[in-house]
Symmetry: C2
Subunit: 186 residues, 2 copies
C-alpha cells in the first residue's frame, strides 16, 4: 500500500492545467453529460443505513455525554441494569442478555467492581462462575444513571411529537428484529 499512493511528489508545479475548469461548471456539465438526475452523494446520504448510522451516532453521543456527568459509560449502565434484574448472575449470561463480548464484560465488571457498584464472588454451586450482585451503592447509582439515560433519550427524540415517537419506536423495533422477508401477518 505504501507504493501505490503519490505522497506529494515534490510539488514541482508546472502541470498540464486545463483540469480544473471552475468546479461548478464541471459539475453541472458532468450531470448533463452523464444524465445523472440524482447525485450519488445525495443518494447515499439518504440511504437507511446512512441515516441510521447518523441517528445512532447522535444517540450514542448524547447518552455518553449524559452518563459521563456521572463518570460512567453506556456499557456500565447496561450491565448494571442487567445485574439488577438477574442477580445473582454469571458473567456469561450477562454477556448473552446484553450482547457484550465476554472479553469486554471482564473490563466492564472490573470497573463496576472497582467502584463498589457490584460484587463478584465465586458461585458456590458452580465454581466456574462468578456470582455478580448489585451493592446498595450500585442500586442507587443505577437509579441516577437511568434518569440520565432517559433525559438523553428524550433529547434524542425531541424533534418528534409523543405520537410520532411511539410510531417511530414501533417501526424501529421491527427493523431491529429484521427477519422480514416473510410478511408479518399476525
Amino acid at each position: 500500500m505504501a507504493d501505490t499512493k503519490t505522497p506529494r511528489p515534490g510539488r514541482t508545479a508546472a502541470r498540464p492545467a486545463a483540469q480544473a475548469p471552475a468546479r461548478n461548471e464541471a459539475r453541472a456539465a458532468a450531470r448533463t453529460a452523464a444524465a445523472d438526475p440524482t447525485p450519488a452523494l445525495d443518494r447515499i446520504q439518504a440511504l437507511p443505513s446512512w441515516l441510521l448510522n447518523r441517528a445512532s451516532a447522535r444517540g450514542r453521543r448524547l447518552v455518553a455525554e449524559a452518563l459521563a456527568r456521572d463518570g460512567m459509560r453506556m456499557p456500565h449502565h447496561a450491565v448494571l441494569s442487567a445485574v439488577a434484574d438477574l442477580e445473582p448472575v454469571a458473567q456469561a449470561e450477562l454477556g448473552r442478555t446484553t450482547g457484550f463480548d465476554p472479553k469486554d464484560m471482564v473490563g466492564i465488571l472490573n470497573d463496576l467492581q472497582g467502584r463498589d457498584l457490584v460484587s463478584r464472588a465465586p458461585d458456590p454451586n458452580d465454581r466456574r462462575k462468578n456470582a455478580i450482585t448489585l451493592t446498595p451503592e450500585g442500586r442507587k447509582r443505577l437509579t441516577r444513571l437511568a434518569k440520565l439515560g432517559d433525559e438523553a433519550n428524550e433529547a434524542l427524540l425531541s424533534a418528534l411529537s409523543p405520537a410520532e415517537r411511539e410510531l417511530f419506536l414501533a417501526l424501529l423495533q421491527r427493523v431491529v428484529e429484521g427477519e422480514g422477508d416473510v410478511v408479518p401477518g399476525s
Copy 2:
C-alpha cells in the same frame, strides 16, 4: 485498575454459601421486595438509543457484507460517490461533505487510488490541494457498489412495507437533524 479486581483468587472453595438461592426465586423475591414493575434490562433495551444502535449495527453489517463481495468497505463507497458528484475535488472538501476525518480520508483515498478507481493529482490552482477525480474504472465500480448498497438497504428494511419505509425514513431524518426543541414549523 489492576488492583481493584479479584482475579479468581485461587478458587479455594469453602465459601459462605447462602448466597445463590436457586436464582429465579431470588429474582422474583427481589422484584416483589423492591416493587420493581419494569425490569431495568427491559427498559434499557427499549430505549431509543439502544434500538438505534442495534438497527444501525444491523445496517452496517448488511452493507459491509454486501460491499465486501466487491472487496470494498462502506467509506470507499461513500467517498467514491462524493467524488463522482464533486470532481475535481479536494480531500478536505470530501471530508466535510461525507463526514470522514481528514486522517481517515487519506487512507480511503490511498485504497481507491491503489485500485485505480480515483486519481489524485496536485491542483494547479492551489498547490496545497489534491484534485481527486474518478477514473473510468471508478465510475463503473461505483455503479456496482450502488447496486450492492441498495440491495443491502432493501434487506435492512425488509420488515416494513413501502409506505412504512417512507414514513420511517421521514421520521428518522428528523431524528438525525435533531435540533428539535423548536417545532419545525414549515
